[in-house]
């Protein structure tokens, strides 16, 4: 079962002064994502079985379990940066997931980490820039465009929503909620599409009518972010 996104943008409050995303909040997000992937492992694999090679849930779960081990190893250093944390997650995914999802999610976190830099906490605008850099990295790696029926269909609308939220002074919770909702709509929109990337592309028209597994795991990532990263802030 996949959870339904809570309506976090009710009222779309403006940003509270000093709202930031801290390193512990990012760690909580990653732990929550690992739990969600473990819970929805079979569902992701079944979506993949319909149009791919039936290993997306297995591979993502193996990767996020490795990330949990890495998070324990890293602990909570006093001078820990968000960038270094995200890069470590990226390297762990790259070396543990395999298939196409490993390089794609690995690159996403590595590029996000580079953009996040040395700071130990990020404002919404800084966070939006980091996510945008990560998604651009994944897009360059997989060379997918919108409507190719891939994770990009969930990620690009989410980045746009996040940036718009930051630009218009939304609260952290509201902006994250809107980006998760944009990802959900992007994911749903993959159902009728004919795949043009990955193994599903060989199916041609037969790939239509199925929700893309990569777009689904990407929505889960952003959905978890909306819940975890704004915890403790005023929605």
């Amino acid at each position: 079962m996949i959870a339904v996104a809570p309506d976090t943008d009710a009222g779309a409050k403006t940003a509270a002064r000093g709202e930031v995303i801290t390193r512990p909040a990012v760690v909580a997000w990653l732990r929550a994502f690992a739990a969600v992937v473990a819970r929805d492992r079979e569902l992701l694999t079944e979506l993949d079985a319909a149009i791919g090679d039936a290993d997306h849930g297995i591979n993502m779960d193996r990767g996020m379990q490795a990330v949990l081990v890495k998070l324990d190893e890293l602990g909570e250093p006093a001078d820990g940066s968000v960038g270094a944390l995200l890069k470590a997650v990226g390297m762990t995914l790259v070396s543990s997931v395999g298939g196409a999802a490993g390089p794609l999610y690995g690159t996403l976190f590595l590029q996000m980490g580079s953009a996040a830099g040395q700071a130990s906490e990020l404002t919404l605008a800084e966070w939006a820039s980091a996510v945008a850099a990560g998604v651009a990295g994944a897009q360059a790696r997989g060379q997918a465009e919108l409507q190719d029926k891939t994770m990009i269909d969930a990620l690009l609308p989410a980045v746009a929503a996040l940036r718009a939220g930051a630009a218009s002074g939304l609260s952290l919770a509201a902006a994250l909620g809107r980006s998760a909702e944009a990802a959900r709509q992007g994911m749903k929109a993959t159902v009728p599409l004919v795949a043009r990337k990955g193994r599903a592309s060989y199916l041609g028209q037969r790939s239509a009518g199925h929700q893309d597994p990569g777009a689904t795991s990407s929505w889960l990532l952003l959905e978890t972010a909306a819940i975890s990263l704004s915890a403790g802030t005023v929605p």
Binding site: D53, S95, G98, A100, R141
Partner: protein, 333 residues
Amino acid sequence: MKKLINRPEDAVKDELAGVAAAHADRLRVYTEPDYIVRVEAPIRGKVAIVSGGGSGHEPLHGGFVGRGMLDAACPGAVFTSPTPDQVLAATKAVDGGAGVLHIVKNYTGDVMNFEMAADLARDEGIAVESVVIADDVAVQDSLYTAGRRGVGTTVLAEKICGAAAELRRPLADVAELCRRVNANGRSMGMALTSCTVPMVGKPTFELGPDEIEIGVGIHGEPGRERRPVASAHDVVETLVTAILDDLPFARGDRVLAFVNGMGGTPLMELYVVYGELHRLLESRGIVVARNLIGSYITSLDMAGCSITLLRLDDELAALWDAPVVTTGLRWGA
């Protein structure tokens, strides 16, 4: 599922332990990350050749590590591409200062993992060229698909490029040669039975007792059509016609004809297939200048075969004939 394994999750690990025990005189086997290196590597001034892919296609690629072929191979989990850290470690282990060629089969995961490894190796100052093999005519090649799958031509490219590297040809030349082999090679396969992935425990696809799959991929991917069992003569005619029409091959062309077993096919049947293939090519005025018959790029326990034709010129033929000493292919030395 009946298999000669201990635990499904240990199949690749146990296989590598067996390879290490059997061939310590010519191979070094590393684990975590997993890769296999020829014992003489790195060889100063020689372009090194690295390949890899999911396990389950043996002897590809580890069985082709040795003099005249690969310097290193990176085995992934069964039917899952290796990860960049494996490929990076192998690349660093074999670079002799003349650069490294990555030979990659065209699957989305393989291409991306090798790309990341190449980027990381270049960051460390190693010259890397990558060539993607995409030769399976069963799959449509268009802007709207991930392109053709990489199959039998991979074996031929590894042999021919390995020979060129032994002659100390520079990296750009060896890469160009690899692209030429890819451009002139075409393959198509068929299955009599499915394969069974150890971790899955049941056949990858269902095939009735009287059905065959024409155009099957080496991971059990669907092909062009399912049809009733037919004679070797008819099967060969179907595969060869698709291959010949595609390049297209023309009267007077000299080819290397490669009949490959999918893992569960007796050599007897492969020779029946070869006999049909040879006769059919001759009848179309195509000269079989070289041949290779055996199970070299397999799909676990799948029964079936693939046919690969490579259009030869004098240079490719000479490099094919050059000595090779690996556990999977050996001649002239």
